[in-house]
Amino acid sequence: MTVKPTDDDAVKPTDGGSSSVDGSRTDGGQMFSQAEITEVTRTQRYQEWFAESIAEPFRIAWSDWRTKVGLLIIAGFLLMGLVAWISSSTWFVLERIVLVDSPIANQGSPRLQPLEDMSHPLGTDMNGRDLISGVVHATPTMIQMILAGAVFAIVVAVIVGTVAGYKGGTTETVLMTASDVAMTIPGLPLVIVLVVLIEPQSPWLIGIIITINVWAGIARTIHSQVLSLRENSYVEASRTMGIGTPTIIQKDILPNLMPYVLVNFVYASRRVIYDSVALYFLGFLSFRGVENWGVMMHLAYANASALLNPEATYMLIVPMLPIVVLSFGLMLFAQGTDRLFSPRVRTRNEGKSNTDETDEPDPMTGV
């Protein structure tokens, strides 16, 4: 009959439920701030949302060396794309600015080894195309493919995942079965068949074809995430207050999906890079110029027999480098942001501690 406050927090007078103290209290903390938000203006709300969902995670992620290096690599890659775009732009101001020449035949003597002629530091291919030019000028199309593919996959996944999670019933069954089916079809063979039959040229279209069934796996993750969010007390609170489903999805659900969206965006990008290069490399996609690192590899492989001929191996290695470096950057970024998923890791790595943690020691440190 007499009930002692059984919750740990109740015994010690709480200090306003500051969720920063205790990782395990994240939900309570969110509930608290969400309840407040409904009272404040839209601007404040977005400010808060920004602080909670963008600024704070970013700060945490940035504190990890992996994220830092990853982001720098990605930024370098975007910069390379910008350089190529400026160099090839015909827009009046930019027309005369050429930072890196476009890769055309007989730019230099053919088959220059790297470092042989310093005007072509990484050498030239058998047609005298500068390899650096090739690498740089293939970047904008790669960015287009990544954007198209990753955005397509994520958008479809978020729509399918949230709608299925929220509507429930038949809609959910249909959407999730469709995801399961799409997920079990092996991606690459399907992509190859489609590419061979459609013969796409536009990088946007190629990007979308490559991620034609990538969305399915992501949709599954998001779906289960939505299901668990839906049960959260603050979402329930919003529902009880009579707030409509679209609003709840927009205000309560989507912001919380951000980390998943981010990480899956990275993995989808990696997939686009791998597969697009492979498709060009093996000649499944036709090409006109050197529009992809895979094209350079294909030329080296098919026309210069770079595998057999040690003298030509560099033609294969040079275009492979940006692929590896970029995907390394993406992987680091994804690994570094991993901790955003786990509030426990989050507090632990910030060096914050609390009495609970020392009393009942953190299991992560083991026995």
Partner: protein, 359 residues
């Protein structure tokens, strides 16, 4: 109320026939921001065949005290001090001096423990019976005899032995898991059973029924029980003696009834006042102001002084010794003699807790 003058603190936590003696036990964690002292010079005797309740709020170091008895403090915590186990018929054992093999024998065979979080104390991919057989096996016990004992234990705890032994952990309810875990912890017939918040995750009804089962179990198997909880009324009902912890120190020790009636530490009194009671109007409930200290930065002097209404310069300057309230009742407070006047019980706490529970 008898008023002994400040005695040498020896007598106060000593008992006639202790089964475990804890002297000057200390646990420290080296952390980035400093040394975290999560158990400070704890002295405590556990009397043979008693039920000792250790009460404290979460983060007061009580789990550390529990782990210390089995030398099972989690890494990177460092335990120092002296812990002596006095078995019935064998020679006394210095727990912290044992080698790995001896320690393995001591744990579970002599002193056993039920952890906080029974829900996760079973391997989810192994059935409950497997846990029993592997434990018996690891300690070279006769498995068949041991399993018979396990079945008896389970039915003593009102479980169906065969069904529970065959079940996987996820197939059992919280209360069933908790009881199965208790059975598992006494299957090697230990003398002492230490329980760390064994009922925390259970509903009220289940808490009560487990308590009464524990009392039965204690009688039948001659156990000494150490019951660690934040739930004061819970121990009040069960324990012979109580020890109150605050900020990683034991601040008051004494027989349960005496503490309930004549609690001498301001913290204990505040704790009793903070106990919700359906009989008492809500307005009379007093939360304790302030918050528990950080283990890295415990206040100088008496660690309770920032929250204590009785605190004065002495409290800020010096850490209080134990004072004897009665022969078996000790308290670490400079102003213990005035605590009762200054912090009156809002209802008769003793009556409220015990009376309320018996209903």
């Amino acid at each position: 109320m008898s008023m002994h003058e400040s005695t040498t603190d020896r007598d106060l936590y000593q008992t006639a026939d202790p089964i475990v003696e804890i002297r000057d036990a200390e646990v420290v964690f080296e952390m980035d921001r400093g040394v975290s002292r999560v158990l400070e010079s704890a002295d405590l005797d556990i009397e043979r065949n008693e039920i000792l309740g250790i009460v404290g709020e979460s983060g007061s170091g009580k789990s550390m005290l529990a782990s210390a008895m089995l030398d099972a403090v989690v890494e990177p915590g460092i335990l120092s001090g002296q812990i002596t186990y006095h078995p019935d018929e064998r020679e006394s054992v210095d727990v912290l001096e044992l080698d790995d093999r001896e320690l393995k024998k001591l744990r579970w065979e002599d002193i056993s423990m039920v952890f906080q979080g029974a829900m996760s104390s079973f391997n989810p991919t192994m059935n409950v019976g497997g846990h029993f057989t592997e434990t018996l096996d690891a300690h070279n016990y006769d498995v068949e005899a041991g399993m018979n004992r396990a079945r008896e234990l389970l039915s003593d705890l009102y479980l169906e032995p065969e069904r529970v032994l065959e079940a996987y952990p996820h197939e059992l309810s919280g209360g069933m898991k908790q009881r199965a875990l208790i059975a598992l912890s006494v299957v090697l017939e230990p003398d002492v059973l230490v329980m760390d918040e064994p009922t925390a995750a259970l509903d009220l009804l289940m808490q009560r029924s487990i308590l009464s089962l524990l009392e039965k179990l204690k009688e039948k198997y001659d156990l000494t029980l150490v019951f660690i909880t934040h739930d004061l009324p819970l121990v009040a009902e069960l324990a012979d003696r109580m020890a109150v912890m605050y900020a990683f120190q034991l601040v008051e020790i004494g027989p349960t009834e005496e503490i309930l009636e004549h609690a001498a530490h301001p913290y204990t009194r505040a704790l009793l006042n903070a106990t919700p009671n359906l009989d008492a109007p809500l307005s009379e409930m007093r939360p304790i102001d302030g918050s528990a200290p950080d283990p890295v930065d415990v206040p100088a002097g008496c660690s309770y002084h920032p929250r204590c209404p009785l605190a004065d310069d002495t409290c800020v300057a010096t850490d209080p010794d134990y004072h004897g309230v009665s022969e078996s009742h000790g308290v670490a407070c400079h102003h213990w003699a005035h605590a009762a006047e200054e912090i009156p019980f809002n209802v008769d706490a003793a009556e409220a807790t015990t009376g309320g529970n018996q209903r």
